[in-house]
């Protein structure tokens, strides 16, 4: 890089901007984290300072209740099932779109990519009617299957792009060795595509984890509620107990932020690829 190095003094205004923007993000979150260590009286009289005394009941009571762990487990199960399904179905389809020639291929692929610009909210009402007819309300499949279906466009697009970069020689060699198309797909292509599979998996997990509208209409019974539903339910239940709601919100943030720290590369790579290729 032959870019000019800035002197510390020149860089100061740039850092100032970054710190201001950074604070506008960190402060609301910190307000939540610290606020949940206060009681509601402290929240009013001592909004900015550290809690004194530190109140741990808000966190500990939530961590000791099923009202947090059950939605967490449900969110996890639904996210994993959705991801496995959408990645597998998409990988198979992307393999065909990337490496086979057949009449109507481009048309079919275009049909899938149209789904990229198709807002989920548009389909929620007919989807609900359909799931009711199929008896899938209050059933995790009622969320998993539609989420997988709506995840297909972006997953197929990204995987197809990746599969295309694998040289044809690799496949021809495998075929000559007597490998069936399925054998090639399973034993050679998928292992080679591990980075791309990681990227689309992270995208699918995040999308499922954050979904609210679909579980909201599908799950009437609290047994299957996911974390976003748990948060809104908790907020309704403890309307005036701000400190307690903050504790639930903060705890609900932890898994998403942890995934972000671990999989930042995959997430950002996938989002940029998904956006620019769609």
């Amino acid at each position: 890089m032959s870019r000019r190095e800035r002197s510390p003094l020149q860089a100061l205004p740039l850092h100032a901007i970054c710190v201001i923007v950074g604070l506008s993000i960190v402060v609301p979150v910190l307000f939540g984290v610290l606020g949940a260590f206060k009681d509601n009286g402290q929240l009013v009289t001592n909004p900015f300072g550290l809690p004194s005394p530190w109140v741990t009941e808000n966190y500990s009571e939530i961590l000791g209740s099923l009202g947090f762990w059950q939605p967490l487990g449900n969110s996890l199960l639904i996210a994993v099932a959705t991801t496995v399904l959408v990645v597998l179905a998409s990988a198979m389809a992307a393999f065909v779109f990337a490496r086979f020639a057949f009449r109507g291929r481009e048309l079919l692929f275009t049909l899938f990519t149209i789904g990229l610009m198709f807002p989920f909210a548009v389909a929620i009402l007919p989807l609900y009617i359909l799931l009711r007819q199929l008896g899938l309300l209050d059933n995790p499949l009622g969320v998993i299957l539609p989420q997988a279906a709506f995840g297909l466009p972006v997953t197929i697009t990204i995987l197809r792009g990746f599969f295309r970069t694998i040289p044809a020689d690799v496949e021809e060699a495998a075929l000559l060795d007597g490998c069936s198309p399925f054998g090639f797909f399973w034993h050679i292509l998928l292992p080679m595509a591990r980075p791309a599979l990681a990227t689309v998996s992270v995208l699918a997990v995040v999308a499922s984890w954050n979904n609210f509208l679909l579980p909201l209409v599908v799950f009437n019974d609290a047994t299957w509620w996911t974390l976003p539903l748990g948060v809104t339910q908790f907020q309704g239940q403890y309307a005036a107990d701000i400190a307690r709601i903050l504790a639930y919100v903060v705890l609900a943030m932890v898994p998403a932020l942890a995934l972000y720290v671990v999989a930042e590369r995959q997430l950002i790579g996938g989002l940029t690829a998904g956006a620019t290729k769609g």
Binding site: R3, R4, R6, L14, I17, C18, S24, I25, V27, P28, F31, G32, P47, A89, A93, V96, F100, A101, F102, R103, L108, L111, G115, M117, P119, A121, V122, A123, I124, L125, P126, L127, Y128, I129, L130, F150, F162, T165, A168, E171, E172, P181, F182, P195, W209, N210, F212, V231, L246, V249, L257, Y260, E264, L267, I268, L271, T272, A273, A275, T276
Partner: protein
């Protein structure tokens, strides 16, 4: 396209690879057998997509032609296009459209420049820029629901953080979400809090795709920083900016979760979006036929917009996008 040739699409097989193939005959047999794999491989995706994406759209179009409370098998009270006529005269729906337009304009005029500025800033040689990027993008991974619930408390009139800060400066008693004149603007700021980092990341990736030689050439020719930005960076970022705008608009059309949690669309519809109106009619007031008409309208609006945008705005970018495809795993 190739219609008769049954060799793999990706068979850009050059000389050596082609020579290894034993006889044309067995090769054709293998290819034919290979073609048999197409359907089984496509089947799961086709079933999912057809059954749970395409069928619902058709179902919405069908039920939008009925007056229906949503109960019982399928609707019977056919009313033709009445629901759509009603839609055009519905002030909440036309209000949704203008509020949507306000949100789109705000994100293009406020959020996009901020995101662009920060992307260019983080493209500089700057200490801690990895940390800054990590923080700026973090809100994107939080769900709209969690962000929304957090901000109902940050913005709450009494104990909320924002009013506590303002009180230090002697401003007191402000309402943010409960004020009809302010709710939409407040909603916009919370939405931007969550999403500006996403646009920033897109623009940063676009900026990093511009070869540094171009900046250097500009500098050697004596161009100022502003001239380099105006005549090199900005035009080359065009495709990314157009995609960012596209995603903002699609996002505004379907905005639901954040509104639902922050304001429920109120007060007096002042922050309501199409998706919220649809949800109210479909799931709260059991006017499923009418709600289906709103769904269809949302579908048509996003479809027509997407096609026009692809046709007239993104068209000149497609070549670049295609040649770039696959470059990033």
């Amino acid at each position: 396209m190739t219609t008769q040739v049954t060799t793999p699409v990706a068979a850009t097989a050059h000389g050596p690879a082609a020579k290894q193939i034993p006889s044309p005959r067995s090769r054709r047999g293998a290819s034919a057998r290979r073609q048999l794999a197409i359907l089984p491989f496509l089947l799961p995706a086709l079933l999912l997509f057809g059954g749970l994406v395409l069928v619902p759209i058709l179902l919405a179009i069908y039920t939008s032609l009925f007056k229906w409370n949503g109960f019982g098998g399928l609707p019977t009270n056919f009313v033709g296009l009445d629901n759509f006529v009603r839609l055009l005269g519905d002030e909440v729906f036309t209000g949704d459209l203008s509020r949507g337009l306000v949100l789109v304009l705000l994100s293009v005029l406020v959020q996009l420049p901020v995101a662009l500025g920060l992307a260019l800033l983080l493209n500089q040689q700057l200490r801690f820029r990895g940390l800054y990027r990590l923080i700026f993008f973090a809100p994107y991974v939080l769900s709209e629901v969690i962000t929304g619930v957090l901000f109902t408390m940050v913005l709450s009139p009494n104990g909320g953080l924002v009013n506590k800060i303002l009180a230090v400066f002697g401003v007191s008693g402000q309402t943010w979400l409960a004020d009809p004149g302010r709710a939409l603007l407040t909603l916009f700021f919370v939405v931007s809090w969550k999403y500006f980092g996403f646009h920033m990341i897109l623009l940063l990736a676009g900026r990093q795709d511009i070869p540094p030689e171009l900046d250097e050439a500009g500098m050697m020719d004596g161009a100022s920083s502003w001239e380099i930005f105006r005549h090199i960076t900005l035009p080359l970022l065009g495709p990314t900016i157009r995609i960012s705008v596209f995603l903002s608009i699609i996002g505004a059309i379907q905005l639901f979760d954040m509104v639902w949690v922050l304001t429920g669309g109120g007060p007096i519809h002042s922050s309501e979006t199409m998706a919220v109106t649809m949800f109210q009619y479909g799931f709260r007031r059991y006017e499923v036929g009418y709600a289906s008409a709103i769904s269809v309208a949302m579908f048509l609006i996003s479809m027509v917009f997407a096609l026009l945008y692809q046709r007239y705005v993104l068209r000149r970018d497609i070549e670049g996008a295609v040649t770039k495809a696959g470059a990033m795993p």
